[in-house]
Structure formats: structure tokens, C-alpha cells
Amino acid sequence: MSQLWLVCYDVRDNKRRAKLAKLLEQRCERVQYSVFECPLEEKLLEKLLHQRWLVVLEIPEDSLRVYPLDARAKAKTRVFGSPPPYEPPDFLIF
């Protein structure tokens, strides 16, 4: 079962930051400039984290933080000025 993760980063170098953001956008919803919400299975998160996202960064100069948002945390999350925690829609009709 997929759950929601909160991903945020501090990346010094513009090029590395752009690269990481692009990779995150493939899987996650950008909710602020350096904050993403990701609906992912834990196994997949683990894989993406180590094989794609972290590879881009220079650690410890850069940092990346991933917080789990379980169902209760998600329900209790308070948001001001933007939509509630991300949930992929069941369907889209355009």
C-alpha cells in the first residue's frame, strides 16, 4: 500500500537543485519551492531514494529529508493558503 511522504531539501548548487527537483517532479507533487508530497510504497521510495535522488546530491553540503505521513498524520496536517495533503485523483476527465 502506498503512503504519503514529505520530502524537502536544501541544495546549494543551482544545477544539482534543478536536477533533483526534476526527478522529484516525476513522482511527487510539488507543494512549495523545496517541499514535495509523494504517494509511494516504502519499497519504491527506498529504491528511488538510493538509486536516483541521493546520487544527484553532494552530501553533507546538501541535505534531503523524508518524513513519513501515515493516515493519522495526514488527517491532522494543517495547511494554510494551499490545497490539503496530496492525494492522486481517482479519475480525470479533460
Partner: protein
Amino acid sequence: MTTLYLTEPGTVVSVKNQSLDLKRGTWQRSCRLAEIELVVVLPGVQLTGAAIALLLDSGVETLFLRRDGRFRGRLQGQFHSNPSLRLAQYRVVETTFGMGLGQKLVLGKIRNQRSLLQRRNRETGGRVTALVEAVDMMAVYVRQLQQLDAPLSRDQLMGIEGICAKRYFQAMMTQVPASWGFRGRNRRPPRDPVNALLSWGYGVLLARVFSASVQAGLDPYLGFFHATEPYRPNLVLDVMEEFRPLVVDWVVWGLVRSPLLEARDFEPSPDGEGVWLGHLAKKLFLEQLERRFQSKLLYPPQERQLALSQILVEQGRAIARACVSLRLDEFESFEVR
């Protein structure tokens, strides 16, 4: 997982950063491929080569419909087809076992039609004679089909299915407001808005059952009840029988009692003989159908709640398993009460 319907002619679908990039005039929207499970494409939508390649490579099911809602085709990339399963399917066609399967599917359809009638019968307190009589008559056929030792012939089964369908639509006629001008089922072309909705909905259902059958590893063209008529996805027609009342009719009977759609949402077909859904009607109807596909019902074989769209796939798999094991009791039609 998300179902993406592309209904607006003039939409161009390209690819950007592992997402589908939708554009039409100044309107733009992007959808992450990782979240998309199914794409349904209506005529007039343009997919770039890159978009088609990405959909094929990532195995996202992509269905194309015609203007009248009929199934046009689907994208098929690499897929796992199990030859022994197909052989098993071929072996049971035109056998007693195959007819037994076909009979179960027809039984499921009749029971589901009957339960829709029964629901209305309860609502009207049994005061509508056409409903009461149809419910009783269909009960007789249901019992007959359940108690048979040997399966009926195809003609006998078709006869029963036809009689029940006729009575079902006649009874439902009393429940559709007169302003809709519904005088029973007709098709090719549908001649009134209710029939237009039914036909369009069956087209969408057929497309989805088609992909479910392929997913289950079955040959969509080789059926049991509809058997082997050429150029027709006979197995798909078999599998979708029980879902016609459950998905499409259920939504249509609800729509005709709601103020959502009215006469001006429909238009005459180009040949002037039939009625087509207008653009807004398509979108509204698709939304209701999709809600129904997503609704969760108890799936007895697995004793858990599943979305109807998932139950389509599970029923396909159950048929495949029964063909391999040659045990009729491994497959039960899906029915709601």
C-alpha cells in the same frame, strides 16, 4: 491510481519529464505517468510519437473509442501471454464445459437485471404491475438456470436471455420519466437519449472488459456463449454480460431521474436516424460511469471489498483458472443483491 479521459478534440498530448503534457489552445495541464493506470482517448485527440512510445513502454493501458462510443482499439506493447492458458481456453469452446461457463455468465446478467428491478419494485411499494410481473418471471428463469443438470443449448440460452432482456427494459420503461421518450431498447443507431446513453456506456464497458481479458491472459475473440462469430470480441461480450446492468444500466437509470442531463445535451447523429451524446453529456456520463467503476463492493470469492473496475479483472482471471482446471465450480458469476 488514476483513469485519464481525454475527450476534448484538439487536445495535443506530448511528454515532459515522465509526465503527459496536455495542451489545447492556452489551456495546459500535466499528469504524472506514475499515477496513471488507464487512458481513454476520444476522437480528435492527438498523441505525439513520444507519448505513444512512453505509454507503450510503461505499460499504461490506452483505449481508443469511436464517436458513438464504440471500441476502436487499444495500444498493445509487450505483454505476458500464457500459451497454456490460451490452449485451455481454445479446448473448452464448443464443449459442455464451455456452455456451462456461458450459462453462468447469462445467469449473472439476469440476476443483476432482476435485482435492479427489485430495487425499484421496493421503492414503488409493489404498485407497478410491469415491475412485479417482470421480477416474478425472471425469478422463474433464474431458478431454471440454477437447477439444470446439463447446460442448455446455445439457442435455448439465447432465447431465455432475449426474453428476460425484453421484459427487463419494458419494466424499466415505467420507471423512466415520460419526457425521455424511452420506448424500450433499440440500437444501431440508438433512437432516443436513453438508448444513446446505454449504447455509449456499453462501449466504454466493452473497452475496459477487453483490456481486463487481455490482462487475464485470455483471447478476447474466442467466447463461450457468444462463441466464435468472426470479427467480434466474443469473450469480451461474454464477460461483460453480468456487468451491463451493474455498471451501465445502474448509472443510466440514476441519470434519467436526476436533473443532470436534458434534451439539449443530445444531438441527432449525422445520418439523421439516431441520437448521439453531445459533448457535455459525454463528460458528465463518463464521470458518473467512472464513479461507479471506482465504487467498492463485496467480492465473495476473495471475501473483501473491491472496486468494480478490479472485479472486472478478477472475473476474467477466475474464468481463466476454470478453463485450466476444468472445474466449473471455480467460477461464479458476480451478483449483487
